[in-house]
Symmetry: C2
Subunit: 291 residues, 2 copies
Protein backbone atom coordinates (compact mmCIF):
# COMPACT_ATOMS: atom_id res chain seq x y z
CA UNK A 1 0.00 0.00 0.00
CA UNK A 2 1.16 3.50 -0.78
CA UNK A 3 2.18 5.89 2.00
CA UNK A 4 0.40 9.05 0.86
CA UNK A 5 -3.03 10.23 -0.21
CA UNK A 6 -3.85 13.51 -1.88
CA UNK A 7 -6.72 15.33 -0.18
CA UNK A 8 -8.54 18.62 -0.64
CA UNK A 9 -10.99 19.28 2.19
CA UNK A 10 -13.80 21.82 1.77
CA UNK A 11 -12.51 22.93 -1.58
CA UNK A 12 -8.92 23.59 -0.43
CA UNK A 13 -5.97 22.99 -2.77
CA UNK A 14 -4.93 19.31 -2.94
CA UNK A 15 -2.11 18.36 -0.56
CA UNK A 16 -0.26 15.16 0.29
CA UNK A 17 -1.27 13.50 3.55
CA UNK A 18 0.05 10.34 5.17
CA UNK A 19 -2.36 7.48 4.58
CA UNK A 20 -2.72 6.63 8.27
CA UNK A 21 -4.05 10.12 9.10
CA UNK A 22 -6.11 10.74 5.93
CA UNK A 23 -9.62 11.28 7.24
CA UNK A 24 -12.80 13.04 6.18
CA UNK A 25 -15.62 14.54 8.21
CA UNK A 26 -18.19 12.04 9.50
CA UNK A 27 -20.75 14.47 8.04
CA UNK A 28 -19.39 14.41 4.50
CA UNK A 29 -22.21 13.85 1.99
CA UNK A 30 -20.04 11.29 0.23
CA UNK A 31 -20.35 9.17 3.36
CA UNK A 32 -23.94 10.11 4.28
CA UNK A 33 -25.57 9.86 0.81
CA UNK A 34 -23.02 8.48 -1.68
CA UNK A 35 -23.15 12.03 -3.06
CA UNK A 36 -20.17 12.28 -5.39
CA UNK A 37 -18.13 10.80 -8.20
CA UNK A 38 -14.98 8.82 -8.79
CA UNK A 39 -12.55 7.82 -11.51
CA UNK A 40 -10.05 4.96 -11.63
CA UNK A 41 -7.10 5.95 -13.79
CA UNK A 42 -4.50 3.48 -15.00
CA UNK A 43 -0.83 4.36 -14.48
CA UNK A 44 1.72 2.96 -16.96
CA UNK A 45 5.39 3.55 -16.22
CA UNK A 46 4.45 6.55 -14.11
CA UNK A 47 2.32 8.06 -16.90
CA UNK A 48 -1.47 8.39 -17.14
CA UNK A 49 -2.32 8.04 -20.85
CA UNK A 50 -6.08 8.72 -20.53
CA UNK A 51 -6.12 11.16 -17.62
CA UNK A 52 -7.67 13.93 -19.75
CA UNK A 53 -10.60 11.65 -20.71
CA UNK A 54 -11.19 10.76 -17.06
CA UNK A 55 -11.13 14.38 -15.94
CA UNK A 56 -13.47 15.36 -18.77
CA UNK A 57 -15.94 12.66 -17.63
CA UNK A 58 -15.59 13.86 -14.03
CA UNK A 59 -16.56 17.38 -15.11
CA UNK A 60 -19.58 16.10 -17.06
CA UNK A 61 -20.64 13.97 -14.07
CA UNK A 62 -20.44 16.97 -11.73
CA UNK A 63 -22.92 18.76 -14.00
CA UNK A 64 -25.28 15.73 -13.94
CA UNK A 65 -25.11 15.81 -10.13
CA UNK A 66 -26.04 19.52 -10.20
CA UNK A 67 -22.74 20.65 -8.65
CA UNK A 68 -22.57 24.42 -9.25
CA UNK A 69 -18.85 23.90 -10.13
CA UNK A 70 -15.78 21.97 -8.99
CA UNK A 71 -13.42 24.05 -6.81
CA UNK A 72 -10.37 22.59 -8.60
CA UNK A 73 -9.36 23.29 -12.19
CA UNK A 74 -8.83 20.13 -14.24
CA UNK A 75 -5.13 20.98 -14.78
CA UNK A 76 -4.77 21.34 -11.00
CA UNK A 77 -6.26 17.85 -10.54
CA UNK A 78 -3.91 16.47 -13.20
CA UNK A 79 -0.88 18.01 -11.47
CA UNK A 80 -2.03 16.62 -8.09
CA UNK A 81 -2.43 13.19 -9.67
CA UNK A 82 1.15 13.21 -10.93
CA UNK A 83 2.50 14.55 -7.62
CA UNK A 84 0.76 11.66 -5.86
CA UNK A 85 2.18 9.09 -8.27
CA UNK A 86 5.70 10.43 -7.73
CA UNK A 87 5.35 10.66 -3.94
CA UNK A 88 4.30 7.01 -3.79
CA UNK A 89 6.84 5.86 -6.43
CA UNK A 90 4.05 4.16 -8.38
CA UNK A 91 5.31 2.69 -11.66
CA UNK A 92 2.40 0.56 -12.91
CA UNK A 93 -0.91 0.80 -11.11
CA UNK A 94 -3.82 3.16 -10.71
CA UNK A 95 -5.03 6.38 -9.17
CA UNK A 96 -8.50 6.45 -7.67
CA UNK A 97 -9.86 10.00 -7.63
CA UNK A 98 -12.92 10.66 -5.44
CA UNK A 99 -14.89 13.91 -5.31
CA UNK A 100 -17.85 14.31 -2.95
CA UNK A 101 -20.18 17.25 -2.35
CA UNK A 102 -18.51 17.72 1.06
CA UNK A 103 -19.94 18.16 4.55
CA UNK A 104 -23.44 19.58 5.02
CA UNK A 105 -26.48 19.46 7.28
CA UNK A 106 -28.91 16.50 7.16
CA UNK A 107 -31.28 16.05 4.19
CA UNK A 108 -31.13 14.75 0.62
CA UNK A 109 -31.37 18.22 -0.90
CA UNK A 110 -27.95 19.42 -2.01
CA UNK A 111 -26.71 22.67 -0.46
CA UNK A 112 -26.65 25.48 -3.06
CA UNK A 113 -23.03 26.35 -2.24
CA UNK A 114 -21.21 23.08 -1.43
CA UNK A 115 -17.56 22.77 -0.34
CA UNK A 116 -16.52 19.51 -2.08
CA UNK A 117 -14.04 17.00 -0.73
CA UNK A 118 -11.25 15.50 -2.86
CA UNK A 119 -9.43 12.26 -2.07
CA UNK A 120 -6.90 10.63 -4.39
CA UNK A 121 -5.10 7.39 -3.69
CA UNK A 122 -2.45 5.73 -5.84
CA UNK A 123 -1.33 2.15 -5.75
CA UNK A 124 0.81 -0.35 -7.62
CA UNK A 125 -1.31 -2.84 -9.55
CA UNK A 126 -0.62 -5.35 -12.27
CA UNK A 127 -2.99 -7.81 -13.92
CA UNK A 128 -2.82 -11.35 -12.53
CA UNK A 129 -0.50 -13.46 -14.74
CA UNK A 130 -3.39 -15.57 -16.09
CA UNK A 131 -5.95 -12.74 -16.45
CA UNK A 132 -5.94 -12.67 -20.25
CA UNK A 133 -5.64 -16.42 -20.77
CA UNK A 134 -8.17 -17.55 -18.14
CA UNK A 135 -10.55 -14.63 -18.74
CA UNK A 136 -13.57 -13.78 -16.62
CA UNK A 137 -16.48 -16.01 -15.71
CA UNK A 138 -19.62 -13.95 -15.13
CA UNK A 139 -23.09 -14.40 -13.70
CA UNK A 140 -26.29 -12.77 -14.91
CA UNK A 141 -27.26 -10.63 -11.93
CA UNK A 142 -30.83 -10.65 -10.62
CA UNK A 143 -30.45 -6.86 -10.19
CA UNK A 144 -32.21 -4.98 -13.01
CA UNK A 145 -31.13 -1.40 -13.63
CA UNK A 146 -33.24 1.54 -14.75
CA UNK A 147 -32.19 3.09 -18.04
CA UNK A 148 -34.14 6.19 -16.94
CA UNK A 149 -31.90 7.15 -14.05
CA UNK A 150 -29.12 9.74 -14.28
CA UNK A 151 -27.04 7.42 -12.09
CA UNK A 152 -26.38 4.77 -14.72
CA UNK A 153 -24.49 7.30 -16.87
CA UNK A 154 -22.11 8.59 -14.17
CA UNK A 155 -19.41 6.87 -12.13
CA UNK A 156 -20.97 7.76 -8.81
CA UNK A 157 -20.24 7.04 -5.16
CA UNK A 158 -23.75 5.53 -4.93
CA UNK A 159 -22.42 2.19 -6.17
CA UNK A 160 -24.14 -0.26 -3.84
CA UNK A 161 -26.09 -1.95 -6.64
CA UNK A 162 -22.75 -2.84 -8.22
CA UNK A 163 -21.27 -3.85 -4.87
CA UNK A 164 -24.10 -6.32 -4.30
CA UNK A 165 -23.97 -7.70 -7.86
CA UNK A 166 -20.20 -8.20 -7.81
CA UNK A 167 -20.22 -9.70 -4.29
CA UNK A 168 -22.92 -12.19 -5.32
CA UNK A 169 -20.80 -13.11 -8.37
CA UNK A 170 -17.76 -13.71 -6.14
CA UNK A 171 -19.83 -15.90 -3.81
CA UNK A 172 -20.57 -18.06 -6.87
CA UNK A 173 -16.88 -18.27 -7.77
CA UNK A 174 -17.21 -15.77 -10.62
CA UNK A 175 -15.33 -12.57 -11.49
CA UNK A 176 -18.05 -10.31 -12.83
CA UNK A 177 -21.83 -9.76 -12.83
CA UNK A 178 -23.69 -8.74 -15.99
CA UNK A 179 -26.63 -6.44 -15.43
CA UNK A 180 -29.82 -6.31 -17.52
CA UNK A 181 -32.09 -3.29 -17.54
CA UNK A 182 -35.78 -3.50 -16.63
CA UNK A 183 -36.64 -4.02 -20.32
CA UNK A 184 -34.46 -7.16 -20.36
CA UNK A 185 -31.60 -5.73 -22.44
CA UNK A 186 -27.95 -6.23 -21.51
CA UNK A 187 -26.28 -3.10 -20.13
CA UNK A 188 -22.81 -3.71 -18.68
CA UNK A 189 -20.81 -5.60 -16.10
CA UNK A 190 -20.73 -4.24 -12.55
CA UNK A 191 -17.21 -2.85 -13.15
CA UNK A 192 -16.85 -3.27 -16.92
CA UNK A 193 -18.47 -2.62 -20.30
CA UNK A 194 -19.51 -5.57 -22.43
CA UNK A 195 -18.64 -6.48 -26.04
CA UNK A 196 -19.85 -9.39 -28.12
CA UNK A 197 -18.12 -10.54 -31.33
CA UNK A 198 -20.07 -12.25 -34.09
CA UNK A 199 -18.83 -12.93 -37.59
CA UNK A 200 -15.97 -10.43 -37.11
CA UNK A 201 -18.39 -7.67 -36.03
CA UNK A 202 -18.36 -6.02 -32.58
CA UNK A 203 -21.65 -5.45 -30.79
CA UNK A 204 -21.97 -3.48 -27.56
CA UNK A 205 -25.00 -2.18 -25.64
CA UNK A 206 -25.98 1.37 -26.66
CA UNK A 207 -25.71 4.07 -23.99
CA UNK A 208 -29.52 4.38 -24.13
CA UNK A 209 -29.74 0.94 -22.46
CA UNK A 210 -28.44 2.55 -19.25
CA UNK A 211 -24.71 2.16 -18.77
CA UNK A 212 -21.51 4.02 -18.04
CA UNK A 213 -19.79 5.61 -21.05
CA UNK A 214 -16.56 3.79 -20.15
CA UNK A 215 -13.17 5.16 -21.15
CA UNK A 216 -12.11 1.60 -22.04
CA UNK A 217 -15.33 1.15 -24.06
CA UNK A 218 -14.61 4.25 -26.13
CA UNK A 219 -10.99 3.26 -26.72
CA UNK A 220 -12.03 -0.26 -27.76
CA UNK A 221 -14.60 1.08 -30.23
CA UNK A 222 -12.13 3.55 -31.77
CA UNK A 223 -9.46 0.89 -32.05
CA UNK A 224 -11.79 -1.76 -33.50
CA UNK A 225 -12.95 0.66 -36.20
CA UNK A 226 -9.34 1.56 -36.97
CA UNK A 227 -8.58 -2.16 -37.31
CA UNK A 228 -11.46 -2.54 -39.78
CA UNK A 229 -13.98 -4.37 -37.58
CA UNK A 230 -17.54 -3.09 -38.08
CA UNK A 231 -18.96 -1.95 -34.71
CA UNK A 232 -22.57 -1.59 -33.65
CA UNK A 233 -24.03 -0.04 -30.50
CA UNK A 234 -27.47 -1.53 -30.04
CA UNK A 235 -29.98 -3.44 -27.96
CA UNK A 236 -28.47 -6.79 -26.97
CA UNK A 237 -30.15 -9.66 -25.17
CA UNK A 238 -28.82 -12.74 -23.41
CA UNK A 239 -29.37 -14.61 -26.70
CA UNK A 240 -26.60 -12.48 -28.22
CA UNK A 241 -24.23 -13.91 -25.61
CA UNK A 242 -25.19 -17.49 -26.45
CA UNK A 243 -24.74 -16.84 -30.18
CA UNK A 244 -21.41 -15.00 -29.79
CA UNK A 245 -18.18 -16.19 -31.36
CA UNK A 246 -16.36 -14.28 -28.61
CA UNK A 247 -17.16 -11.83 -25.83
CA UNK A 248 -15.00 -9.53 -23.74
CA UNK A 249 -15.32 -6.84 -21.11
CA UNK A 250 -13.44 -3.56 -20.83
CA UNK A 251 -12.48 -0.99 -18.27
CA UNK A 252 -9.69 1.53 -17.77
CA UNK A 253 -7.72 -0.85 -15.56
CA UNK A 254 -7.94 -4.31 -17.15
CA UNK A 255 -8.38 -2.95 -20.74
CA UNK A 256 -10.05 -5.96 -22.44
CA UNK A 257 -10.57 -9.31 -20.70
CA UNK A 258 -12.06 -12.35 -22.48
CA UNK A 259 -15.47 -13.36 -21.13
CA UNK A 260 -15.23 -17.16 -21.16
CA UNK A 261 -18.46 -18.22 -19.43
CA UNK A 262 -21.77 -16.75 -18.27
CA UNK A 263 -23.87 -18.59 -15.68
CA UNK A 264 -21.59 -21.59 -16.21
CA UNK A 265 -22.22 -21.73 -19.96
CA UNK A 266 -19.11 -21.38 -22.16
CA UNK A 267 -19.10 -18.39 -24.51
CA UNK A 268 -18.01 -18.86 -28.13
CA UNK A 269 -15.92 -21.82 -29.15
CA UNK A 270 -15.52 -23.79 -25.93
CA UNK A 271 -15.07 -20.68 -23.79
CA UNK A 272 -11.55 -20.00 -25.05
CA UNK A 273 -10.34 -16.41 -25.54
CA UNK A 274 -10.83 -15.49 -29.21
CA UNK A 275 -8.66 -13.84 -31.85
CA UNK A 276 -10.66 -10.59 -32.15
CA UNK A 277 -10.46 -10.09 -28.37
CA UNK A 278 -6.71 -10.71 -28.54
CA UNK A 279 -6.34 -8.14 -31.35
CA UNK A 280 -8.30 -5.51 -29.37
CA UNK A 281 -6.28 -6.18 -26.20
CA UNK A 282 -2.99 -5.95 -28.09
CA UNK A 283 -4.06 -2.65 -29.66
CA UNK A 284 -5.19 -1.17 -26.34
CA UNK A 285 -1.92 -2.18 -24.68
CA UNK A 286 0.03 -0.65 -27.54
CA UNK A 287 -1.95 2.59 -27.32
CA UNK A 288 -1.15 2.81 -23.60
CA UNK A 289 2.52 2.07 -24.09
CA UNK A 290 2.41 -1.28 -22.28
CA UNK A 291 5.13 -3.65 -23.44
Amino acid sequence: MSAYLMVGIEGAAPRLVERSVATISAQDRGFLYGDGLFETIRVVQGRTPYLASHLERLGAGAATLLFPRLPWRLDELAAACHDLIRANHVTDGYVRLTVSRGPAARGYEAPPDPTPTLVMQASEWRPAPDLYTAGYRAVLSSVRVSAHSPLCRVKSLSALEKVIARTQAAQQGCNEALLLNTDGYLTEGAATNLFVVREQRLLTPALACGLLPGIGRRQALQLARALGYPCEEGFLTVEDLWRADEAFVTNALVLAVPLTAVDGRPIGHGGRPGPVTAAILAGLRRAMGIE
Copy 2:
Protein backbone atom coordinates in the same frame (compact mmCIF):
# COMPACT_ATOMS: atom_id res chain seq x y z
CA MET B 1 -25.91 21.88 16.10
CA SER B 2 -25.13 19.31 18.75
CA ALA B 3 -21.68 19.05 20.30
CA TYR B 4 -21.18 15.29 20.19
CA LEU B 5 -21.37 12.40 17.75
CA MET B 6 -21.36 8.72 18.66
CA VAL B 7 -18.86 6.73 16.63
CA GLY B 8 -17.71 3.13 16.44
CA ILE B 9 -14.70 2.73 14.15
CA GLU B 10 -13.77 -0.69 12.76
CA GLY B 11 -16.39 -2.43 14.83
CA ALA B 12 -15.31 -0.88 18.16
CA ALA B 13 -17.88 -0.11 20.88
CA PRO B 14 -19.71 3.19 20.29
CA ARG B 15 -18.19 6.19 22.09
CA LEU B 16 -18.96 9.89 22.28
CA VAL B 17 -16.71 12.15 20.21
CA GLU B 18 -16.74 15.93 19.85
CA ARG B 19 -18.36 16.88 16.56
CA SER B 20 -15.40 18.97 15.37
CA VAL B 21 -13.03 15.97 15.55
CA ALA B 22 -15.45 13.22 14.40
CA THR B 23 -13.78 11.80 11.30
CA ILE B 24 -13.74 8.57 9.35
CA SER B 25 -11.06 7.00 7.17
CA ALA B 26 -10.82 8.39 3.64
CA GLN B 27 -10.87 4.73 2.58
CA ASP B 28 -14.18 3.88 4.23
CA ARG B 29 -16.46 2.01 1.83
CA GLY B 30 -19.33 4.26 2.93
CA PHE B 31 -17.43 7.13 1.33
CA LEU B 32 -15.94 5.20 -1.61
CA TYR B 33 -19.04 3.22 -2.71
CA GLY B 34 -22.07 4.38 -0.66
CA ASP B 35 -21.73 0.92 0.89
CA GLY B 36 -23.92 1.04 3.98
CA LEU B 37 -27.23 1.93 5.57
CA PHE B 38 -28.85 4.64 7.62
CA GLU B 39 -31.90 5.35 9.75
CA THR B 40 -33.43 8.66 10.81
CA ILE B 41 -35.14 8.26 14.18
CA ARG B 42 -37.49 10.86 15.62
CA VAL B 43 -36.90 11.98 19.21
CA VAL B 44 -39.92 13.15 21.24
CA GLN B 45 -39.26 14.60 24.69
CA GLY B 46 -35.99 12.71 24.84
CA ARG B 47 -37.66 9.38 23.95
CA THR B 48 -37.48 7.36 20.70
CA PRO B 49 -40.89 5.71 20.30
CA TYR B 50 -40.05 3.65 17.18
CA LEU B 51 -36.36 2.94 17.77
CA ALA B 52 -36.94 -0.84 17.85
CA SER B 53 -38.59 -0.73 14.38
CA HIS B 54 -35.67 1.29 12.98
CA LEU B 55 -33.08 -1.11 14.41
CA GLU B 56 -35.03 -4.10 13.11
CA ARG B 57 -35.01 -2.58 9.61
CA LEU B 58 -31.29 -1.84 9.94
CA GLY B 59 -30.64 -5.52 10.69
CA ALA B 60 -32.74 -6.64 7.71
CA GLY B 61 -30.92 -4.16 5.46
CA ALA B 62 -27.53 -5.47 6.58
CA ALA B 63 -28.61 -8.95 5.44
CA THR B 64 -29.71 -7.54 2.04
CA LEU B 65 -26.29 -5.92 1.70
CA LEU B 66 -24.64 -9.31 2.43
CA PHE B 67 -22.99 -8.10 5.67
CA PRO B 68 -21.91 -11.28 7.50
CA ARG B 69 -23.17 -9.60 10.72
CA LEU B 70 -23.21 -6.24 12.51
CA PRO B 71 -20.50 -5.94 15.19
CA TRP B 72 -22.95 -4.22 17.57
CA ARG B 73 -25.95 -5.81 19.25
CA LEU B 74 -29.21 -3.95 18.68
CA ASP B 75 -29.57 -3.24 22.40
CA GLU B 76 -26.06 -1.77 22.38
CA LEU B 77 -27.07 0.56 19.51
CA ALA B 78 -30.22 1.56 21.39
CA ALA B 79 -28.20 2.40 24.52
CA ALA B 80 -25.71 4.42 22.45
CA CYS B 81 -28.60 6.30 20.85
CA HIS B 82 -29.97 7.33 24.23
CA ASP B 83 -26.52 8.26 25.57
CA LEU B 84 -26.08 10.53 22.54
CA ILE B 85 -29.48 12.17 23.04
CA ARG B 86 -28.64 12.87 26.70
CA ALA B 87 -25.12 14.15 25.96
CA ASN B 88 -26.52 16.65 23.48
CA HIS B 89 -29.58 17.55 25.63
CA VAL B 90 -31.87 16.86 22.69
CA THR B 91 -35.55 17.17 23.63
CA ASP B 92 -37.39 17.05 20.30
CA GLY B 93 -35.45 16.18 17.18
CA TYR B 94 -33.84 13.20 15.52
CA VAL B 95 -30.96 10.78 15.58
CA ARG B 96 -29.34 9.84 12.30
CA LEU B 97 -27.65 6.44 12.58
CA THR B 98 -25.19 5.49 9.81
CA VAL B 99 -23.50 2.10 9.39
CA SER B 100 -21.00 1.49 6.60
CA ARG B 101 -19.00 -1.61 5.66
CA GLY B 102 -15.86 0.17 6.90
CA PRO B 103 -12.44 0.67 5.32
CA ALA B 104 -11.16 -1.78 2.73
CA ALA B 105 -8.95 -2.06 -0.35
CA ARG B 106 -10.21 -0.84 -3.77
CA GLY B 107 -12.89 -2.76 -5.67
CA TYR B 108 -16.68 -3.19 -5.60
CA GLU B 109 -16.50 -6.68 -4.16
CA ALA B 110 -17.22 -6.61 -0.43
CA PRO B 111 -14.48 -7.98 1.84
CA PRO B 112 -15.59 -11.28 3.43
CA ASP B 113 -14.73 -10.05 6.93
CA PRO B 114 -15.57 -6.32 7.08
CA THR B 115 -14.99 -4.02 10.07
CA PRO B 116 -18.03 -1.69 9.87
CA THR B 117 -18.10 1.96 10.84
CA LEU B 118 -20.86 3.48 12.99
CA VAL B 119 -21.70 7.18 13.15
CA MET B 120 -24.68 8.60 15.06
CA GLN B 121 -25.60 12.26 15.18
CA ALA B 122 -28.44 13.84 17.16
CA SER B 123 -30.01 17.20 16.64
CA GLU B 124 -32.93 19.32 17.75
CA TRP B 125 -35.61 19.55 15.06
CA ARG B 126 -39.19 20.72 15.00
CA PRO B 127 -41.58 20.93 12.07
CA ALA B 128 -41.91 24.39 10.53
CA PRO B 129 -44.97 26.15 12.02
CA ASP B 130 -46.90 25.98 8.74
CA LEU B 131 -45.81 22.46 7.67
CA TYR B 132 -49.18 20.79 8.23
CA THR B 133 -51.32 23.69 6.99
CA ALA B 134 -49.27 24.60 3.88
CA GLY B 135 -48.37 20.98 3.08
CA TYR B 136 -45.88 19.88 0.43
CA ARG B 137 -45.81 20.77 -3.24
CA ALA B 138 -44.19 17.99 -5.26
CA VAL B 139 -42.86 17.43 -8.75
CA LEU B 140 -43.00 14.22 -10.78
CA SER B 141 -39.32 13.37 -11.15
CA SER B 142 -37.89 12.37 -14.52
CA VAL B 143 -35.88 9.70 -12.66
CA ARG B 144 -37.47 6.25 -13.06
CA VAL B 145 -36.52 3.62 -10.49
CA SER B 146 -36.08 -0.11 -10.99
CA ALA B 147 -38.45 -2.27 -8.94
CA HIS B 148 -35.97 -5.11 -9.53
CA SER B 149 -33.11 -3.69 -7.51
CA PRO B 150 -32.38 -4.62 -3.90
CA LEU B 151 -31.58 -0.96 -3.30
CA CYS B 152 -35.13 0.34 -3.49
CA ARG B 153 -36.08 -1.74 -0.42
CA VAL B 154 -33.26 -0.58 1.89
CA LYS B 155 -32.38 2.83 3.29
CA SER B 156 -28.90 2.84 1.83
CA LEU B 157 -26.00 5.27 1.68
CA SER B 158 -26.21 5.03 -2.14
CA ALA B 159 -28.87 7.73 -2.18
CA LEU B 160 -27.73 9.91 -5.06
CA GLU B 161 -30.85 9.22 -7.16
CA LYS B 162 -32.90 10.72 -4.32
CA VAL B 163 -30.44 13.59 -3.87
CA ILE B 164 -30.82 14.55 -7.53
CA ALA B 165 -34.62 14.19 -7.52
CA ARG B 166 -35.04 16.26 -4.35
CA THR B 167 -32.56 18.93 -5.49
CA GLN B 168 -34.38 19.29 -8.83
CA ALA B 169 -37.65 19.67 -6.90
CA ALA B 170 -36.14 22.41 -4.73
CA GLN B 171 -34.88 24.22 -7.82
CA GLN B 172 -38.51 24.34 -8.98
CA GLY B 173 -39.66 25.72 -5.64
CA CYS B 174 -41.11 22.41 -4.48
CA ASN B 175 -40.60 20.31 -1.34
CA GLU B 176 -40.62 16.75 -2.65
CA ALA B 177 -40.13 14.68 -5.80
CA LEU B 178 -42.39 11.72 -6.60
CA LEU B 179 -40.67 8.82 -8.35
CA LEU B 180 -42.25 6.46 -10.86
CA ASN B 181 -40.79 3.05 -11.62
CA THR B 182 -39.80 2.00 -15.14
CA ASP B 183 -43.29 0.47 -15.62
CA GLY B 184 -44.85 3.88 -14.99
CA TYR B 185 -46.28 3.13 -11.54
CA LEU B 186 -45.92 5.53 -8.62
CA THR B 187 -43.45 4.35 -5.98
CA GLU B 188 -42.65 6.96 -3.31
CA GLY B 189 -41.30 10.42 -2.68
CA ALA B 190 -37.53 10.89 -2.51
CA ALA B 191 -37.72 11.07 1.30
CA THR B 192 -41.31 9.97 1.97
CA ASN B 193 -43.94 7.31 1.25
CA LEU B 194 -47.07 8.31 -0.65
CA PHE B 195 -50.75 7.88 0.24
CA VAL B 196 -53.83 8.78 -1.80
CA VAL B 197 -57.32 9.10 -0.29
CA ARG B 198 -60.39 8.44 -2.40
CA GLU B 199 -63.93 8.05 -1.09
CA GLN B 200 -62.61 7.53 2.47
CA ARG B 201 -60.26 4.72 1.31
CA LEU B 202 -56.45 4.88 1.58
CA LEU B 203 -54.35 3.74 -1.38
CA THR B 204 -50.57 3.41 -1.27
CA PRO B 205 -48.06 1.86 -3.70
CA ALA B 206 -47.36 -1.82 -2.94
CA LEU B 207 -43.80 -2.72 -1.92
CA ALA B 208 -43.52 -4.69 -5.19
CA CYS B 209 -43.52 -1.35 -7.06
CA GLY B 210 -40.03 -0.74 -5.65
CA LEU B 211 -40.02 1.43 -2.53
CA LEU B 212 -38.79 1.67 1.02
CA PRO B 213 -40.92 -0.09 3.64
CA GLY B 214 -41.13 3.12 5.65
CA ILE B 215 -41.67 3.11 9.41
CA GLY B 216 -44.11 6.01 8.97
CA ARG B 217 -45.87 4.11 6.18
CA ARG B 218 -46.42 1.09 8.40
CA GLN B 219 -47.66 3.22 11.31
CA ALA B 220 -50.04 5.11 9.03
CA LEU B 221 -51.48 1.88 7.62
CA GLN B 222 -51.97 0.36 11.08
CA LEU B 223 -53.58 3.52 12.39
CA ALA B 224 -55.87 3.99 9.38
CA ARG B 225 -57.15 0.42 9.73
CA ALA B 226 -57.71 0.96 13.46
CA LEU B 227 -59.71 4.10 12.62
CA GLY B 228 -61.88 2.10 10.21
CA TYR B 229 -60.51 3.37 6.88
CA PRO B 230 -60.16 0.59 4.27
CA CYS B 231 -56.53 0.48 3.04
CA GLU B 232 -55.17 -0.94 -0.18
CA GLU B 233 -51.54 -1.48 -1.26
CA GLY B 234 -51.55 -1.61 -5.04
CA PHE B 235 -50.35 -0.30 -8.39
CA LEU B 236 -51.03 3.43 -8.57
CA THR B 237 -50.56 5.75 -11.53
CA VAL B 238 -50.43 9.50 -11.89
CA GLU B 239 -54.16 9.36 -12.72
CA ASP B 240 -54.78 8.24 -9.13
CA LEU B 241 -53.24 11.52 -7.97
CA TRP B 242 -55.49 13.59 -10.23
CA ARG B 243 -58.58 11.69 -9.04
CA ALA B 244 -57.67 11.86 -5.34
CA ASP B 245 -59.82 13.55 -2.71
CA GLU B 246 -56.64 14.00 -0.65
CA ALA B 247 -53.04 12.86 -0.71
CA PHE B 248 -50.30 12.88 1.90
CA VAL B 249 -46.72 11.72 2.39
CA THR B 250 -45.18 10.04 5.43
CA ASN B 251 -41.82 9.51 7.03
CA ALA B 252 -40.48 8.95 10.51
CA LEU B 253 -39.68 12.63 10.99
CA VAL B 254 -42.61 14.60 9.54
CA LEU B 255 -45.18 11.83 10.22
CA ALA B 256 -47.92 12.75 7.68
CA VAL B 257 -47.79 15.92 5.55
CA PRO B 258 -50.61 16.93 3.16
CA LEU B 259 -49.60 16.82 -0.49
CA THR B 260 -51.31 19.90 -1.86
CA ALA B 261 -49.99 20.10 -5.44
CA VAL B 262 -48.09 17.96 -7.95
CA ASP B 263 -46.42 19.60 -10.95
CA GLY B 264 -48.37 22.75 -10.11
CA ARG B 265 -51.75 20.99 -10.23
CA PRO B 266 -53.80 21.15 -7.00
CA ILE B 267 -54.59 17.79 -5.40
CA GLY B 268 -58.13 17.11 -4.12
CA HIS B 269 -60.47 19.94 -3.39
CA GLY B 270 -58.49 23.04 -4.30
CA GLY B 271 -55.22 21.69 -2.86
CA ARG B 272 -56.31 22.16 0.75
CA PRO B 273 -55.26 19.61 3.41
CA GLY B 274 -58.10 17.11 3.85
CA PRO B 275 -59.91 15.65 6.87
CA VAL B 276 -58.59 12.06 6.49
CA THR B 277 -55.01 13.36 6.37
CA ALA B 278 -55.71 15.42 9.49
CA ALA B 279 -57.11 12.36 11.29
CA ILE B 280 -54.05 10.25 10.37
CA LEU B 281 -51.64 12.99 11.46
CA ALA B 282 -53.47 13.45 14.76
CA GLY B 283 -53.37 9.70 15.41
CA LEU B 284 -49.65 9.44 14.57
CA ARG B 285 -48.84 12.38 16.86
CA ARG B 286 -50.87 10.82 19.67
CA ALA B 287 -49.13 7.46 19.22
CA MET B 288 -45.72 9.20 19.52
CA GLY B 289 -46.76 11.21 22.58
CA ILE B 290 -46.60 14.59 20.82
CA GLU B 291 -48.88 17.18 22.39
